[in-house]
Amino acid sequence: MTGPPGAGKSTLVEKMTALFRKDGQTVAIVAVDPTSPYTGGAILGDRIRMSSLFCDPGVFIRSMATRGSSGGLAFRTREVCDLLDAFGKDVIIVETIGVGQAELDVADTAQTTVIVLVPESGDGIQAMKAGLMEIGDLFVVNKSDRDGADRLMVEIQMMLDLRPQCEGWRPGVMRTTASAGEGVDELVRQIQGHRDYLKKYGILGRLRKDNVRSAIVDLVRQRLEEKFWENAGIRSVLDRLAEEAAGGKMSPYQAFERLLEAREQNGMKPSTNKEQSDHVR
């Protein structure tokens, strides 16, 4: 479940979960909220909308803070989902932070990505085309008790017409009023429909592979970067170079080259050659 801040993701998750439970399925919810880049702290408030589920032993809710991850999830969300899967949860729902256009990690993590928009999103839909709108398997116009829901539905359909079509699946577009529970049954039906499609076309295995693949790429990025900075001296070299670059003596690119050199000379054995260093921002 992803979409802009305040679109009603948590409210939808609560209502969907109630339906999955009625159907006898166990549910785990992983709800992500942003860490403040300034203090390192976070307020994890998605639970506020889910309190009707707290005492149901068939529902497990875990809140996570992004802790510096920029893709809309936390670094470990994927692993948490794997664990919940291993514990036998029938349905695992991931709620991302409120996203703009670039926080798209969920698409590599989930089997079905639901984009939650609100009537007011209409103005931004052009801008969203090149990101959020491309990863949706299903589109929900929530808060459709407000004006503009129909227009947005049409705009989404038009956008989908322009998107490369894939065999066997055209994303459904539906309206909900999560706060009143309206339309949620249709959403759950369509999620199950998407799952049937994934099975029928043998896509689950490929998704799983993509999933693992991007997990490995993430690890490369994280571990190489950690390695790069692990020598205590390197930070002070960075400070010095930053000062020089800020004073106009060199460009950030030159400073970067010098940083690499300093690291090699100092016996800070580089774990990267030139090519790999492109990954080490």
Binding site: A42, I43, L44, I48, F54, C55, I61, R62
Partner: protein
């Protein structure tokens, strides 16, 4: 890297004032903690279930309804039942000194009255919570 502290801030009981709880939640966030905030009208069972699922280091209850002598012990009892007896339970609200004493004898931590500077709460959590394994 030090482990992030995770604190549940909960508002049990029937009164609808969560301003204090929100102020504390923000202060803890600004001190670098991860604060799980669950909203109004939480029962002890809801609070302890959330604490368990979220694996928090501490639980802070904001109680203004006067029901503290039932709510604190009830939460405490359930925390012990769920194996959370090593987690900090603390609180805030208007609570008479003798009640505070009684509660602390039962294992409840500090209870902060109105007007407490939030920094005192931040310091208390840092001093009290186990920061064992990373």
């Amino acid at each position: 890297m030090s482990r992030k502290l995770r604190i549940l801030i909960a508002k049990p009981g029937l009164d609808g004032h969560d301003r204090g709880a929100k102020v504390v939640a923000r202060a803890l966030r600004d001190a670098g903690m991860e604060v799980i905030y669950t909203g109004l009208h939480q029962t002890p069972q809801m609070i302890v279930e959330a604490a368990l699922q979220e694996d928090v280091d501490g639980v802070g209850l904001s109680i203004l309804s006067g029901a503290h002598m039932t709510l604190f012990p009830e939460v405490m009892k359930r925390m012990c039942e769920e194996g959370l007896e090593d987690r900090l339970l603390f609180g805030g609200g208007i609570i008479p000194g003798e009640d505070v004493e009684t509660l602390q004898k039962q294992g409840v931590g500090k209870i902060f009255g109105p007007g407490t500077p939030v920094q005192a709460i931040v310091d208390y959590i840092h001093e009290t919570v186990r920061v064992g394994d990373v």
